[in-house]
């Protein structure tokens, strides 16, 4: 990569590292296809110099070790998996696979219809009821993805002229939901109740505050008590997206709202099945009135095919595992504590993370791909995250810790990361 930059400099042209995805948003002329040539020219150079690390194909289940086809060499290697969500190691459990296979035998490949028409099966009803029971709510409604859940729920409830207040680090699905709702969208500084207070001041009409339980790039937990206090004083409703916290946080795993004892104060609870359960899909849990309304107005749901029945069956079994095996959460938090302690001992910066999502801060946009390549060469599967997904100079490697990791695997991973970061002068010797 450094050689490529040097070659560019010698040729008198800008280095590809001077550009990133944000530079190719606009194109010349009246033809949308004009966007493609400059991007293609850049990507042809960027891909072999690190961008190939994205979307490398996996050739095995996302367990703690995974077979990965290298995007540059084509070589398949077994690597320690620090990239997949699957926080509880549930997606490949034998009973989960068995449930999915049985459902596949019974129902076939897909739902073959919208959930509002012919695509709802008994297994979907059972899963929704189980989610509602787990979340201690009257009802729950399923969505085909977590993205769809935010987009569909927010646009089902909010209208033009309403106000949506989002944390500035809110997931794209929250932002896209707000755009689709045509509401006025206001962003408050990340996890900053004072800024939320300032922005809510003097605003009249319908107001919705949207936060996440755990933020996916930094792994920090929402300051929910303070956010709830501010929102309530201003008459705003609160939606919490617990994509990265459902099934993990709280005494019963119901999420960050349970962790803080604020389940009643939060108005809308959204979660996904793709993170802790390692599956796919999203849900909103709440009153039966809410579920019925969203069933009628959640366009992203009823204009999509329903979840595959086999997937729903696997998720239902996964949910029962979460309910019956609280020791999985204990194991996860033990792993998180172990890795946090070891990172601290090795002088490795993991930012503000207090969860199973840990950013290893590289803080060098020019080096992050080279660091990620060397770490993969050392036997770990994880991805770099750089601008514009995170602020400039805040590049990082994002780690997902799982209950399924052994301490030996985490220690091995730590040693590889520490060795590469020291060699690059990114952490102390």
């Amino acid at each position: 990569m450094e050689a490529a930059q040097k070659k560019d400099a010698e040729a008198g042209k800008p280095a590809f590292t001077d550009y990133d995805y944000s530079n190719f948003y606009y194109g010349a002329g009246d033809d949308p296809l004009n966007l493609l040539p400059p991007f293609t020219e850049w990507y042809r150079e960027a891909r072999p110099n690190g961008y190939y690390l994205y979307s490398e194909p996996l050739e095995s289940a996302p367990t703690t070790k995974v077979r990965v086809r290298n995007g540059k060499t084509g070589e398949v290697r077994e690597l320690i998996n620090l990239a997949s969500y699957n926080y509880l190691g549930i997606s490949y459990r034998p009973e989960v696979r068995r449930a999915a296979i049985e459902a596949l035998e019974r129902y076939g490949l897909g739902a073959s219809g919208s959930p509002i028409l012919s695509g709802t099966f008994d297994i979907h009803v059972k899963l929704a009821e189980a989610v509602a029971q787990f979340k201690e709510k009257e009802g729950a409604i399923l969505f085909p993805t977590g993205y769809s859940a935010n987009v569909g729920f927010i646009s089902a409830l909010m209208r033009s002229g309403d106000h949506i207040f989002c944390d500035q680090y809110a997931h794209a699905s929250i932002v896209d939901g707000a755009i689709l709702a045509k509401s006025k969208t206001v962003f408050f500084r990340h996890n900053n109740p004072m800024d939320l207070e300032r922005k809510l001041g003097g605003v009249h009409g319908k107001k919705l505050v949207v936060v996440e339980g755990v933020y996916s790039m930094d792994g920090d937990v929402c300051l929910l008590p303070e956010i709830v206090d501010v929102a309530k004083r201003h008459g705003a409703r609160i939606l919490i997206d617990e994509a990265h916290s459902t099934f993990l946080f709280g005494a019963n795993g119901r999420g960050v709202a349970e962790h803080f004892g604020l389940e009643e104060e939060v108005d809308f609870h959204l979660g996904t099945f793709s993170k802790s359960l390692g599956g796919q899909g999203g849900f909103v849990a709440g009153s039966q009135e809410l579920v019925d309304y969203v069933r009628g107005f959640g366009r992203s749901r009823f204009f999509s095919c329903n979840l595959a029945p086999a997937l729903a069956a696997g998720l239902l079994t996964g949910l029962h595992i979460v309910e019956n095996e609280p020791e999985l959460r204990t194991r996860l938090w033990s792993n998180v504590a172990f890795l946090r302690r070891r990172f601290a001992e090795e002088g490795i910066d993991i930012g503000k993370s207090t969860s199973q999502v840990m950013p290893v801060m590289v803080n060098n946009d020019a080096k992050v791909f080279a660091v990620a390549e060397k770490i993969q060469e050392g036997g770990l599967y994880l991805q770099p995250v750089t601008y514009p997904a995170v602020p400039k100079h805040k590049s990082r490697l994002r780690i997902s810790v799982s209950a399924a990791h052994s301490e030996e695997e985490l220690e091995t991973a730590l040693q590889v990361i520490a060795r590469v970061l020291r060699a690059e002068g990114i952490c102390r010797s």
Binding site: Y19, C166, F187
Partner: protein
Amino acid sequence: MPELTRYGYRDAMSGFFEFPTENARRILPAHLEPVEVHHGTSVFALTAFDFNQSEVGPYGEVVMAVLVSPLVKPGQPFPKSAMYPYLVATTTRAAREHAIERWHLPHWMEDVDIAFDRPGDHIAVHVKADGAPVVDMTIYQYAWKPVSHLHQSFMKDGEANYFAQVTMEGQHSEHEDEKGKLVLHDHPFNKALSIPDVYDTPFREQWMRDGLQTFQPLVQLEAA
């Protein structure tokens, strides 16, 4: 080779601030589109120059601008940014007349006072008009490296629309650590902005020093 106009500077400091897109649209002519950092949130850019070499001698300048979509041409280098300066203020009449005549930039029509403080790892600018404070901004340094960056500037003068390619060379420091600060005073100078809605911490701080700003000749754009 087209004739180039060069301005040597000691410091060029910029802060980029989030402000409502509806405010940006009130400032921009209809043919320009604001760049949004979030849905509904555009970028107000404040740049202060300490020019030490130009056709009209040394002078200070402050530029209030909105970031806009660039004009991209096939086969041409991509600009780092594009902006619409909606108000420029200078410390000398000669600098003001030069910029109006050559670049059609809209100006505050009185000399302003521009004072820079450089206490170490940061730089501050204090701007006064008619003896009253109008803008104070502080930004912090990061790592320094030499760069040559292409930018674009759009101008509107009456019914005519213009465009210029501007290259900024020099030592460059840029970060998004949100350390800096902006104070916009209640003054006619800031009448285009809804001051409470401009976030007072820059999401990006850019400092260039000991460099050269080079303008390619002005281009008049076809009517939209």
